[in-house]
Every structure is written in structure tokens, then in C-alpha cells.
Symmetry: C2
Amino acid sequence: MSNKVSIKDIAKIANVSIATVSNVINGTGRVSADTKNKVNKVIQELQFVPSASARSLKDKNSHLIAVVVPFVEKGILQDNPFYWELVRGVENGARNHEVQVILLGIDEHEDFSFVRGRHLDGLIVVGVYEQSPAYRKILSLGVPCVFLDSYLSDPALYQVDLDDEAGGYLGTKHLIGLGHRAIAVLTGRLEQGGVNYFRYQGYLRALRESGIPENPDLVLEIDSSIQGGYQAAQRLGHHKDGITGVFAFSDVSAMGLIRGMHDIGMRVPEDVSVVGFDDIFYTQYMIPSLTTIRQDIVSKGQAAVTMLLDQINGTATTSRRVTVPVSLIVRQSTNSFRKI
Amino acid sequence: MSNKVSIKDIAKIANVSIATVSNVINGTGRVSADTKNKVNKVIQELQFVPSASARSLKDKNSHLIAVVVPFVEKGILQDNPFYWELVRGVENGARNHEVQVILLGIDEHEDFSFVRGRHLDGLIVVGVYEQSPAYRKILSLGVPCVFLDSYLSDPALYQVDLDDEAGGYLGTKHLIGLGHRAIAVLTGRLEQGGVNYFRYQGYLRALRESGIPENPDLVLEIDSSIQGGYQAAQRLGHHKDGITGVFAFSDVSAMGLIRGMHDIGMRVPEDVSVVGFDDIFYTQYMIPSLTTIRQDIVSKGQAAVTMLLDQINGTATTSRRVTVPVSLIVRQSTNSFRKI
DNA sequence: CTAAAAAGATGTAACGTTTAATCATATGGA
DNA sequence: TCCATATGATTAAACGTTACATCTTTTTAG
């Protein structure tokens, strides 16, 4: 259709040089009000849009960032809507800064070559840790990065993460306050220094504070998916210790868990209290609605974009590490240990 | 860091011309096995990655597609995980074809100028209709498009959509089969020719077939969100006709509805049966699990990518219109009208 | 043994920008 | 009046590719 109109065409029609057109577009150089108007009019008429490729070829930045989402399973991105909220936040943040977002799901074999190929301005990386294969590859790219939910020890890295320890503490404390003692944990991979690790640390702190001994039998490492939660219900049901509270480190697994308990005849919260984590969009509509640790996922994504762009533009005034607060939302899935 | 190595550097080190390097990379022209090896070795060593901007500047395609999602409807961000599943499918399809995906959330003011600016190869557009402001703008771009869930009348357009009419029919028929007569509908905007319109037509067909008169009072047009569903429960609860079945045209609204009914003391399925639509990932884990119309969302996304790429490469052999089948999944949220 | 054809390699223009260097004209001060 | 300085506008190089046309060398056919 409207076959590619270039700066050259504009120049010819407006009867000026291409340099002038370029100056008008970018507000650079000195150009009189008259010619500025003239050129702008032609641009309007021809619906001219500068070629991003030519630009990025020239000045090496592409106004493109990628949001890197890990854990591709069987080639498909995880179905946890948590990522959706995060990605929406990133998209939304980027939109306000005239940058576009490439969505990149990675597995362990990703080589990231296209990051350099496309001259990506930066990366927003979700949930890697020091041991993960992606981590070193990403660093070696030498591209500005912001890590989300990643807990990397290098203080030079820009990071946005959650106060997971506090979250773990809050949820556990809540259960303890209700009288529960045998509190199980449903966690994704508990790698040293990962998200779940800190939530677990918070859990331990709460236990210690109340003098409850730590019991490794109560820690169930699962796929942090809805199925993982469901399957865990079986294991918990047949558990020797009389578990009365469960802290699931993600809302999706909590949902699976509750359903699983329902299926083996355990009632929530009458028999077992359940706390989730994330405050995904549907938690308050579950039956029972889910007591959970709230984080503002969307604005976390937005914060990451801002940080990344500050870094890219060298205007980074904010700290390199932002920790987003959490809060406890009490709903119906938790109840006192001994119901009257 | 590794500051941009170009085809020129490779050429110099390998002691050949840049044209030869280019030929090696693209497998074009004639180049001996020896030099091919030599060049490849240097490429390996220097970790050379061709510049996407230079390429796309040259041959006008970018290997970039955008998936256009209506994030913002009436000012509210869509948190429907349905979109996430779709986007996941698209990402996955693209991955298999060495194309990257830009995520573009739009509101009614989007001007799409960057689509031309970036030389995007094509667009996958979700849920527009002929009256929507985005529709004309997108068409005028003259860029290859595939429309998802869009029902556009122009037969020249490439479209992937669902057999919504059948879905509407199946769900309704199921309720009728269980003995229900007063069946309400929870639908998003019922614009002529949209997704909901066809689902509604299917609903009507099922009614006609069973001689049940159509009752406009039973059709509730809502925000098809979880909140929308929740609020609808109030309206249904106080409804004068004795409603015993509800067909919600999306799973998220069904979830909200069920919760809303729960809150006003109506039990599902004992008092009211509920059918959803989409078979979102969590439906089988709800309490009660949700009877719904299943569609394979992820593979719908994949199909769209294939279709788009076929169109771009001119290898489009498949039909311009793909209709994905639906099926009824019966779970616990529906029950016979008169329970014995 | 020679002419023709094939194989291998190269030079270079072009894609659409930005930017530094240059040029031309008008304006101002002494 | 003349030089210095702003102000406007232009020229041309460069960014990293690809592809066409050209050139050289080798192989093949007769």
C-alpha cells in the first residue's frame, strides 16, 4: 500500500535538504519557524514515520526492551497469571516512555544472541538466580538489565524485588496467631537465595519467635503450579503430623491445594487453614476466598521499566535496589485452630 | 563490553571480502568449502551476530510481529488470563519460526504509527470488530494481519476464530438437557457480529429447538470481567423469573458469578447451575469445578502465527479462515433441575 | 590445445537515518 | 563601512547489511 515514504521524499516536496527535515523531526540544529511549519505540514500529509531500523543502525539503540520470562515448560510459557500481570505492568510502563516490549520466554538453552543482534536497549529479567544457566549468559551480554524477583548478591546490579522474607513471616505469624502449630509449607524450588528461599526464611523466623521447632517434614517442595498444589494435598492428607495450617508460596498452588483437600474430604478453613502468596486477581473470588500476601504486581513491572530506562539514559538517580513491600490480606481460608 | 563486531571485522580477519562473509552467513552465492569453514570459524570466535537493524533496513522486513491485545477497555486493564494463554501460544509459535513478538496493549487512542516505523512483518490482532476504532486504523496500515476472535465480514481477511455459535448452543443444550428452562445469559458487549453475538445466537438456537421462548429479561450484558460476574449475581438473585441456570460467556465472569451467588446464599449447583466459557487453566480447580466450553487457547495462538507467517512468505496455502472447534466439559457446576 | 562454461571471489551501490563540517546570508557593533 | 557573529540551511560521510554486476581462475568439452 502506502509504499514507504522516506525523509528524502519529504525533503524533495518541502524543498529543503534532508538534514533540515531530520532537524525538524528531532528538534535539533537551527531551523526557522517558517521552514519548520512547511516541513511539518508535508510530514503530516504523507503520514511520514521515520524508519526505526535506520535510526537504530545509526545510533545503536533500538528503543526496544525485552521482558525475559523464565521457565518455559515443554516449550510453552508458564500458565501462572502472575507473569501476565507482571508483563502487563512492563508493557504499560514502557508505553509511557515510547519504548516497545519484546516478549521472550526462555528455557535453559536460550543463547540470547538476538539481544545483540537487535541492539536491544535493555532487559527486564524475571526470576533468575545465581546458579541458573541464564544468569551468566545475560550478564555477559553487557546490556542494561533490571532483575525482578531475583536476589542476586552483586550490589552493582539493578534489582526490583519483593520483601519476601517479610511475606513469609507475616503469613506464618498470622497462622500462629490463630493457634496453629503444625504449619506446612508448599514451596517451589528452594534454591539458595531465590524467592522461595527468603519466604522460607521468614517462615522460620516466625516459628523461632514463637518457640515452635522447625520440622523439615513439613516442607513440601513442589512444582509451583496449580497441579503441583493439587497433588500436594494428597501428601498432606496422609501426613503423620496433624497439620492444621498450610502456607503456599504462590496463589496458584494454593488454589490447587484447596481443591485437592476438598477432594479428600478436608475442609478449608474448618480442618486446615491455608495462606497463599501474590494476591492474584482471582483470590478474593475463590470459595473460600484466599488469605494471602499481597504484592502489587503490575506496579512492580512499571517500576522495573522506569529503573531500566533511568539506567539506559544515565539518569539513574534512584537506588539500585528497590524492595516492594508486602501486606497480609486476611480472608476466609484461615481460621482459628480450635473452632468454638 | 564486546563492542559490536561487524561483518567487516570478520572479513578482515578471515581475509576475504564482506560479500563473501555475507554469502557464508546466508548460504547465498557460491563459496568454496574451505573459505566457508574459515569464515565460520572467525564468526564463532568473535561471537558475531548480524545486525537486525541493518538487515531490516536493507530488505524491509524485520522478523518482528506484534500481538495486539485490547488491554484497556473502558479504562480498565484487562486482567483476563485468557489473553495470557493466547499470548503464550503466539510466543511459542513465533519461537519456532525465528521471529520475535512485540507485545502491544492498546486503548482506543492507539495510532499504530510504530508499526510502519519498525517495519513490522505482521500483526496478530485480538478481539476487534468492525465498529471498533482500532479496526480501520489497522487495515489502513497495509500490513499482513491475522485476526483472532474478531468475526470480520471481509472475506479477504485472515481470521482464526472459535466456533462460538456451537459453543453457545452446546452449553445451553446441556442446561436444557438437565431440565432447566429459565436460563440466563451473562455476556460481554453484544455488538453485532462479535464473539458474544455468536455465542448468543447459539443460545437462541438451542432454546428454539426445545420450544423455549426467548426472554430478553434473562440476558445480562456485563463487563466480562470477574467483577462484572460478581455484580451480576445480585441482579440474578433478585430476578423475578425463577432462574435455575446461567450461561456465562467467559470463565472469569463465571467465577465472579459463582462467588457472588455464594455470598447471597444461592448454592451452585444445587440452586443454580452455571456454565462457563473458555476453559481457562483454573476451571477444574474451582469449587465447584466449572462446567464450561473448552477451546484450546494456546494452540489458537500458535495457529495464528503459522497463518500470519504463511501470509507473509506468500506460502499461504491454507484457507483464510480457520474455525477452531469447541467442546463441552461437564464438571460440577451444573446439575439436574429437580434434584431427587 | 583452445574455447566455453562453471566456480569462486570481489567491488560497490543502496537501504533511511543522523551529525559534524561547511557554507551563505543577515545582523550587529565599532 | 567593515569585521565579527548569529542564524539558517546544505553536503557528505557513516552505520551494517545485501545483491547485482564484474572479474579472475579453474574445469570441462570438443
